[in-house]
Symmetry: D3
Subunit: 68 residues, 6 copies
């Protein structure tokens, strides 16, 4: 399966915090921490847990640029 989203950053889950509706997932990607907020249901259905190898996926239209 190919997804049109341009950004795929593979890493390892460092931390996962489950809220009532959403979950905060922190992924270590090399020297960076990438943080994601997804539904709690997806976190549970995918059985996400610390140490899992996952990919953070972002659509290009959601990425801003800062400079200076």
């Amino acid at each position: 399966m190919t997804l049109s989203a341009r950004n795929h950053l593979m890493g390892t889950i460092d931390e996962i915090q489950l809220g009532d509706v959403l979950a905060h997932v922190t992924v270590r990607v090399g020297e960076h921490e990438v943080e994601s907020v997804i539904t709690r249901r997806s976190a549970e259905e995918m059985s996400l847990k610390k140490g899992d190898t996952v990919t953070a996926v972002v659509k290009a239209t959601e990425v801003m640029i800062s400079k200076g």
Copy 2:
């Protein structure tokens, strides 16, 4: 200035393509390519060009997780 967006990936612009309304900006972040679509106006006002040091910024609610 501090911005609430959780993800800040510093890198170097590898390529910039100007369209009529939007621009496609590719940023090298370590071993990753991060792609961004911003307005052409911002690309021009910020004078973005190949080789610039910039930061790709993403709100955590825009980041998905894939696994397996």
Copy 3:
């Protein structure tokens, strides 16, 4: 591969319009037309064309509700 995005609507591409940076893709999903704007690069790399079976994917935090 499992993606955390909650919404996956399978259908057939009805029309694809390539712009300079982005592409407008219309997918027939049962009786609905689902419209998507993705990068031209993804449209080309995925060789999207009329008649292809594809899935429109949407993160739940991007879906609004209207009533009345």
Copy 4:
């Protein structure tokens, strides 16, 4: 009133889960389940409840395409 968002999928609320800040709303649209995360305040102000006829609304730039 006309809204620029391209995607309007009418259906019936199947389930609504209220969290502290957000709410998870599941809408049956024909044979599909469409899931939405909106603020709890909107869910309460709109008095959303199971069985309500609502429309799931999505901006085209938020829709990705997967294939294969």
Copy 5:
């Protein structure tokens, strides 16, 4: 019709630039300029033009906060 999006800023179109796939719409809201990128199709179907009274609509999850 009520929409779950929390932010509705009424103003007047100051400028509209049509691109191939998207359109850049600038709305004067009091002393602020609010800029929007929508599909060209919506801009044409809604016959948007300079001077029109419109509302800029934004989902709360798309709003970031900066400080300092």
Copy 6:
């Protein structure tokens, strides 16, 4: 630092509600209320509180237009 996001609305925090994972922040911008949902972590790290002068920031591709 310059950010590519086109919309920057300066105001004062009127109310902040902390949830488990996210926070709901209401900013008074002139005669408008702008509502934002950010991570609880950002709200805490930025020490956001009622009365703070902040800026609501929105990417142009996240702004819809309604008319009529």
